[in-house]
């Protein structure tokens, strides 16, 4: 390779390397500040103080959803990351995908009692897609399995 080309290759390498290092340092400095939300564990660890507006994310704990009011517009549920829990209260319209066992993000603030007062709720979708038929078949199989276990369980000591 002739010297001029070599020098230019070096310049391009330095530009790219410099940009990569600068970006890496920048991202490391932000660290978790770029997270879209706090997890219940982070809240339990005391990473959130005061009543400033934050966003939390987690799963809607199974069996924790409570609907009140005429159309069930005031709801309570527990957001969990399977390590720590945060109780959440919200009044308003929910996205279609909001349900127990699903990912959820909520904007709002922690009140003095440690309850998260949500102003808005977003549902998080996971990376799995499944056809409704397969899901129905899986549910049916699961129910059959459960029925079998109950039947067998009565006979076993």
């Amino acid at each position: 390779m002739n010297p001029i080309r070599k020098q230019k290759l070096l310049i391009v390498g330095v530009i790219l390397g410099g940009a990569a290092v600068a970006t890496a340092l920048l991202l490391l400095a932000f660290n978790k500040g770029l997270n879209a939300f706090f997890t219940p564990t982070e809240i339990a660890e005391g990473k959130v103080t005061g009543t400033q507006n934050i966003r939390i994310g987690g799963m809607v704990k199974k069996g924790s959803l409570l609907k009140e009011g005429l159309q069930g517009t005031r709801i309570e549920f527990i957001a969990t990351d399977f390590n720590e829990d945060v109780p959440v209260v919200y009044t308003g319209v929910l996205p279609d995908l909001f349900r127990e066992g699903q990912g959820v993000m909520a904007d709002g603030h922690m009140d003095a009692k440690g309850v998260f007062q949500a102003d808005s709720i977003l549902a998080k979708h996971d990376e799995n897609y499944m056809s409704s038929e397969v899901k129905a078949a899986m549910e049916a199989a699961k129910n059959k399995q459960a029925a079998k276990t109950v039947a067998n369980g009565g006979a076993q000591p």
């Binding site: 970006t23 879209a36 995908l97 799995n128």
Partner: protein
């Protein structure tokens, strides 16, 4: 092989070699697109949670990924132009920027349309969405910088530097869903029948995926050919070509 690549670097040879390729590539891409869209929108089973909403993945995933690929192509061509001073690399870098910008814009728009019914919002400042928006601005910035200079060579040098610097954003987009908590879901793993992500949902996405990539190259090749004719307008071979076209008409 090297001989062939070396020839592609010359505008005249690029023009002559792609003449027969364009109708063929367009035809195959459109066929794949039609097959993928009809299959994906008409016959693939609905998702158990999102119903028919999920069908936007057949456009959203290919265009977003192709937009990222387009930027890598742009940056590679910019580097090749800077180091080896290859004319053809500069032409491809110039013409691929608007096509890439259109692709990532399409990815952002389809994502927003899917986000409203699924998440409950069109837009949120999470790492995946924000870094994708930055990619769109990088494309627009590269185009604007090139256009800001009166001299073609000065503009291409400035745009090349920005294009190379900006490529660090591409791995950030790709890994954003792993590095940070994001509202955007992670990359789907493809499984067998019965598992999550069964083939009957994903195969149409491969069709639209290849179609989208094919149409990207059709657009880039057609735009390159125009740019070649313009830049080489004073050369003998373009004059001859023009003469031939005129006598045919």
């Amino acid at each position: 092989m090297w001989q062939w690549l070396y020839k592609l670097g010359s505008p005249r040879h690029f023009y002559e070699m792609t003449t027969g390729l364009v109708p063929w590539l367009t035809g195959v891409s459109l066929l794949l697109l039609a097959a993928g869209v009809v299959w994906g929108l008409g016959f693939a089973p609905p998702d158990y949670q999102m119903g028919d909403n999920f069908r936007i993945i057949y456009i959203h995933v290919p265009t977003s990924m192709c937009g990222m690929g387009a930027y890598v192509l742009l940056a590679t061509m910019a580097a090749m132009h800077m180091i080896w001073n290859i004319k053809m690399a500069d032409i491809v870098a110039k013409v691929s920027a608007p096509v890439g910008a259109a692709y990532i814009a399409l990815g952002l728009i389809t994502g927003a349309l899917w986000g409203k019914p699924t998440w409950g919002t069109y837009w949120t400042w999470d790492a995946r969405l924000t870094s994708s928006l930055i990619l769109l601005f990088l494309f627009l910035g590269v185009m604007a910088l090139r256009a800001a200079y009166d001299s073609e060579s000065a503009g291409s040098k400035a745009a090349s530097v920005l294009a190379i610097v900006g490529v660090v954003n591409v791995p950030i987009i790709y890994f954003s869903v792993q590095w940070w908590n994001t509202l955007h879901q992670g990359t789907s793993k493809l499984g067998g029948a019965g598992s999550a992500n069964p083939p009957e949902i994903w195969i149409p996405a491969f069709f639209t995926g290849f179609a989208v990539i094919g149409l990207f190259f059709v657009a880039v090749i057609l735009r390159s050919r125009n740019e070649i004719l313009y830049r080489e307008r004073r050369t003998q071979w373009v004059q001859d070509l023009l003469q031939k076209e005129l006598t045919h008409a």
